[in-house]
Symmetry: C2
Subunit: 260 residues, 2 copies
């Protein structure tokens, strides 16, 4: 079974990259074969996993421009069962080009279809990190994905952005990817007992109902610090509240997807 | 004297909108005439100032599509001397259209040139909020601006994004806006005494030198809470550390710009 999940929210700084890295590592710890693809020119997935994109031959840039396929570009990380494809954008010249080749919004989904058609599927989960924007790069991810996972930050501007995303998903389902599901919404930066967080959790339960994951990701300095150490938080401090939350999120996703 | 400042950083969630709203309010408190224009389809500036874009006739959408000019679209806010032009995007249909009309990257700068040519300038400062992306909407702001103000979040992925932005600015200066200056970089979410913040301040001073504002914006729950109350933090609690920081930032900008 191959499940492709796009990690998306047009609101910036909600924890898309942090979730991509830490959920991928947690799924790998739970014995799943995992690939993380970075479609954000910021190339933060590589940074958070201690990988220098310039050292590699290929990245998402080459995949979208058609000069490499997924298996040629996938590289092992320092974590067992976790492969990575960084954006590998580099400079502003290539960033402009990356946005141009992404105008063909089915490039990534074509590559994933090839992967699905092989006999032995190399991965159980593919996670795709996206930029904070509803642009052609994010559309490439949404057309390639089976479902969307939406990190939600406790904060005032957060809910409108998710509404914008959900409206866009309705358009996409009608036009290009009828099977696109919502994997779920996960509340991040939760600070127990603060007004902003308690209000956000209450509102999120009301608005997203069963789409809201039971797991809530706490605001946890270990998560921010692990990014400096260029490793997933579970590899830095498995007992931290952040690491435990992402392991729980991985379990929740595995249970939802594999019980059928 | 009219000074146009674009508030930009391709990294998401660093406090662009928060800075646009609170700096604008602080400049107005310091007796300046101020206009805030929102080029982010998230329309968070309107939300943070308690304005419903749907109640207005025009927004940045109409300005970029050529059906209204700046003075027709500008509306007073509840704060004296502070006018607002929301993005006024509404739904995903208009969001797609907004990105299309923005392909003409000089639309906004043309409108601002018209404003500059009038005898009595209505504003001392125009602040432009931008989406977390180096896209055509952000380029409209960068081509219309005299300078760029960059909020910087203390965090691992923050510095690379500013490097990407600075590289893009070099290209822009050569191609389209030779006079584009850097107004400064302001450190946000500063938590005194934490490793992540102390490291960020040290690094920011080393990397940005005199571009780094002396004023540092603290992480302050009043700032997040004021957004829920749909007002600038100075209007909710002028003694809060957040309000005091934005007043100091306004003073610093006024001193830098008006001493010549
Ligand atoms: N639960 C958490 N606790 C503490 N810090 C966190 C948490 N989640 C994310 N962070 C930190 O917050 C910052 C923003 O997170 P991140 O960069 O993952 O968001 P993003 O949605 O990918 O941003 P962008 O929109 O720019 O792509 C990072 O510095 C990250 O280390
Ligand atoms: N100094 C601060 N202290 C506490 N909360 C803050 C501070 N600055 C910003 N915030 C909160 O952090 C969140 C992100 O800020 P904001 O939305 O202004 O960033 P942004 O850069 O405009 O995001 P985007 O990239 O999505 O446009 C908001 O919920 C805001 O209220
Ligand atoms: Mg990210
Ligand atoms: Mg914003």
């Amino acid at each position: 079974m191959l499940k492709v999940i796009a990690i998306t929210n047009p609101k910036g700084g909600v924890g898309k990259t942090t979730t991509a890295i830490n959920l991928a590592a947690s799924l790998a710890i739970a014995e799943k074969q995992v690939l993380v693809i970075d479609l954000d020119p910021a190339d933060a997935v590589a940074q958070g996993l201690g990988i220098r994109p310039a050292d590699l031959d290929f990245g998402a840039f080459e995949i979208l421009s058609g000069s490499a396929n997924l298996m040629e570009a996938a590289r092992p990380s320092s974590i067992a069962r976790l492969d990575v494809i960084p954006a590998r954008v580099g400079d502003s010249e290539r960033e402009v080009r990356f946005n141009e080749v992404a105008k063909n919004r089915v490039r990534l989904s074509r590559q994933i279809d090839v992967l699905r058609s092989t006999n032995r599927l190399p991965y159980d989960y593919i996670l795709i990190d996206t930029p904070p924007s509803l642009n052609d790069l994010t559309f490439n991810a949404l057309l390639a994905a089976d479902s969307v996972l939406v990190p939600l930050q406790a904060g005032q501007y957060a809910f409108n952005a998710v509404r914008r995303l959900m409206q866009m998903l309705v358009r996409l389902r009608k036009s290009a990817n009828p099977g696109l599901d919502v994997e779920g919404v996960v509340l991040n930066f939760y600070e127990k007992g603060t007004r902003v967080s308690d209000r956000a959790l209450f509102q999120a339960r009301k608005v997203f109902r069963s789409y809201l994951f039971d797991t809530v990701i706490p605001k946890n300095t270990a998560i921010g610090y692990a990014a400096f150490e260029a490793k997933p938080v579970a590899m830095m401090d498995i007992k931290s509240s952040g690491a435990q939350a992402y392991l729980a999120l991985a379990e929740e996703i595995i249970t939802r997807n594999e019980k059928h």
